[in-house]
């Protein structure tokens, strides 16, 4: 494979520059279905973002004074970060519990998590009204210490750094930087411990953002336990995405996988399914406790009650059962269906807090619905992330094993 042509060790800039240039060239077929769809979307997305920077957020979004947060926050940030949760869960399993079975997928997951933060949390920049002030809470133009968002902002930044450290050995292997790799991989455990701690706090922190929206979020969703619910659901959100993404990578990048990885893939999926089922049952149980204590029976007869049940039964309990069943009978189809349902459930859950059940008392016609331009920019961001992911995976040892010099020393 071409990437193996990377020199054993980069000696000078003279080796370095041509290598990077050769790596920048596209690989594989250019006119694939994905490329044909994604390229126009990304181009349109860039144009829309440029237009928004000149004309203001209102020019391409349906945001209003009543609905200050829309799809860009509710989907890109809230949901994107939940899906990135797979990284902290798997690094916990592999580096803290040292369950080696999951080692083959840990790099792809961390890379995915890292890119998710860069792109989806990065999507925040286009949602901010005054994005040039984004570093104010970091540089101290002023520290809003009593703000949950202050904590989330800091944690995003620190966690991106931690994840970059976690994935950096793969970059060093790609560039053939032996010594750098040694230093970077010695930092992994520290980054993992730090990363898990940060994830615990900002996954729940995203939920805590809505604590002051009391009265605006439907009582079936608003509870003082939102932070805990967000944290627990990020576990199975992340794992489901790993299952989903792994199943696709398995096909798309199959020539990058080594035989060992290919053989253990089923085993890994079944293990992940068990993990998902466990976390989802915990979540369901928590939801039930909160519901009982909240005494919101009267809302169950309304449309909102039905919507609540769709989420909690159809997109939590049923996939939970499917995961369990899939794990017991080693049925991968069942597991994949469950993963898709779970992903859908998480999207709906996060949108419920930020958009759908937010200001539920406002009649539907006046309710916020994203404009087509918001959807296009979101798609553009998702596609751009996949492009970068693909670029890295086809060049660096993410799915395949590290080069020989790593193990032989």
């Amino acid at each position: 494979m071409s990437a193996n042509a990377a020199p054993h060790e980069m000696k000078s800039l003279r080796d370095f520059v041509p290598f990077i240039l050769s790596e920048l060239k596209p690989r594989g077929k250019i006119f694939t279905l994905f490329n044909i769809i994604s390229v126009p979307v990304i181009i349109l997305g860039v144009i829309l973002i440029a237009y928004r920077m000149v004309k203001g957020i209102g020019s391409i979004t349906n945001l209003s004074q009543e609905f200050p947060w829309g799809m860009w926050i509710g989907f890109d940030v809230m949901t994107g970060v939940a899906f990135a949760g797979g990284a902290y869960v798997l690094t916990f399993v592999v580096y803290i519990l040292r369950i080696e079975k999951y080692h083959p997928i840990v790099r792809a997951t961390v890379l995915n998590g890292f890119l998710a933060y860069v792109f989806y949390a990065g999507a925040l920049v286009i949602d901010l009204g005054r994005p040039w002030h984004i570093f104010n809470p970091i540089i101290g133009n002023k520290f809003g210490l009593s703000s949950v968002l202050f904590l989330v902002a800091w944690h995003f930044l620190l966690y991106m750094t931690a994840e970059f450290i976690e994935i950096s050995p793969a970059f060093a292997e790609w560039l053939g930087l032996k010594r750098t790799r040694q230093v970077l991989s010695s930092l992994t455990l520290g980054a993992v411990v730090f990363g898990i701690t940060l994830s615990t706090l900002h996954q729940s922190g995203l939920g805590a953002l809505f604590m002051m929206a009391k009265g605006k979020i439907h009582p079936l969703w608003y509870t003082q336990f939102i932070p805990i619910l967000f944290f627990v659901s990020s576990i199975f959100a992340g794992l489901s995405l790993v299952i989903f993404e792994g199943s696709i990578s398995q096909r798309v990048f199959s020539d990058h996988l080594d035989d060992e990885h290919r053989a253990s893939h089923h085993d890994i999926l079944i293990g992940l399914a068990k993990g998902c089922a466990g976390a989802m049952f915990t979540y369901f149980f928590l939801k039930m406790l909160i519901f009982m204590h909240g005494r919101h029976w009267e809302y169950l007869h309304t449309g909102w009650g039905l919507w609540y049940l769709v989420e909690i039964i159809g997109l939590v309990l049923i996939p939970c059962y499917l995961f369990l069943r899939g794990a017991m009978y080693k049925n991968l189809i069942s597991i994949r269906v469950a993963a898709v349902l779970t992903i859908l459930g998480i999207i709906i859950n996060r949108l419920n807090y930020s958009v759908i059940a937010y200001k539920w008392y406002i009649p539907l016609p006046a309710h916020y619905v994203p404009s087509w331009m918001e959807i296009v920019t979101t798609l553009a961001i998702v596609f751009a992330e996949i492009w970068v992911f693909r670029w890295i995976v086809t060049r660096m040892p993410i799915l395949r094993k590290p080069p020989k010099w790593v193990t032989t020393g």
Partner: protein, 294 residues
């Protein structure tokens, strides 16, 4: 691993994250005075006196360099208006069983404002004299809008350099120069009364006591969301004249203190726990390896 680097990074994280909780909670006296002890000033709105002349709207627009409203146009009362980026205060008309009432709407200047607790750069500020104002180091995240129980902050969606617009109690324009808010000065019927919150509450009680049949025995804003610097008197129950009466008396920042308190605990316990767990599993690993060697 590199312990020094790890500790260093942990320290930075603590600064960024743990510090969050330390300033969160304040005592309940916070509805009357600032931490430095200065009494909050505010305005009493006696809705029984308002004639809907909208002089306050005009004065407000003039004080803030906003487009002047046409106060002769009575058609505006057909709909319930909200404040906007160009109208920091509006007067609405309500038809009730006790007759027609006009109600002025603007920022309530909460004692412990949700928007101030929400702001991650302290662009929203509660001044010692009670005014809640916005500053230009804002990054435009609009979390203040999510956190305001009264939906007051308004965002300029159609500007490349948007501001948050809301009533600032004329803090910059008049208060700091020893003046009183433009709307209060412009009011011809003494509907609006400027003073410290303590005085305003006393005056409200006096009015209710003197004319118990005229007023409902309730001062809106005395305790709502932990107390607001603007308070209202009414002849009819407040829900009939457009007020949210289900907001509770808890100050909005209190809703997130539970989470913020947990932050330093997690930040200290989690790494210790994870490191410990990691050492435990490592030892097993090594023992296995040793056994294999034998």
């Amino acid at each position: 691993m590199d312990r020094r680097k790890f500790l260093k990074s942990l320290g930075v994280g603590m600064l960024g994250a743990a510090g969050t909780a330390l300033t969160a909670r304040r005592s309940h006296a916070a509805e009357y005075s600032s931490e430095s002890g200065e009494e909050f000033k505010g305005v009493l709105v006696d809705t029984t006196r308002c004639i809907g002349c909208r002089s306050c709207e005009e004065a407000c627009a003039a004080a803030h360099d906003l487009p002047a409203p046409d106060i002769g146009d009575e058609s505006v009362f057909k709909e319930k208006r909200d404040t906007s980026t160009t109208q920091l205060t509006v007067v609405n008309r309500y038809k009730t069983d006790k007759g027609i009432f006009f109600v002025k709407k603007q920022c309530m200047h909460c004692g412990q404002p949700g928007c101030v607790a929400a702001c991650l750069v302290k662009a929203m500020k509660k001044h010692d004299d009670g005014a809640v104002t916005w500053d230009t180091n804002c990054m435009g995240c609009r979390y203040c809008m999510i956190s305001c129980p009264f939906d007051i902050p308004k965002f300029e969606y159609n500007s490349w350099n948007p501001k948050i617009q809301k009533c600032n109690l004329c803090w910059e324009q008049r208060l700091t120069k020893g003046g009183i808010p433009a709307c209060v000065e412009a009011c011809p019927t003494e509907t609006l009364l400027f003073g410290t919150k303590r005085e305003l509450i006393e005056e409200s009680r006096r009015r209710i006591y003197r004319q118990p049949k005229k007023y409902v025995n309730y001062i809106y804003g005395e305790d709502e969301v932990g107390g607001t610097s603007w308070i209202y008197l009414s002849a009819v129950p407040f829900e009939q004249i457009g007020f949210k009466t289900d907001l509770g008396v808890t100050a909005y920042p209190e809703y997130s203190t539970g989470f913020l308190y947990a932050v330093p605990i997690v930040l200290i316990l989690w790494p210790a726990f994870l490191m410990g767990l990691s050492y435990l599993t490592r030892r097993e690993d090594e023992e296995e390896k040793k056994e294999k060697k034998r």
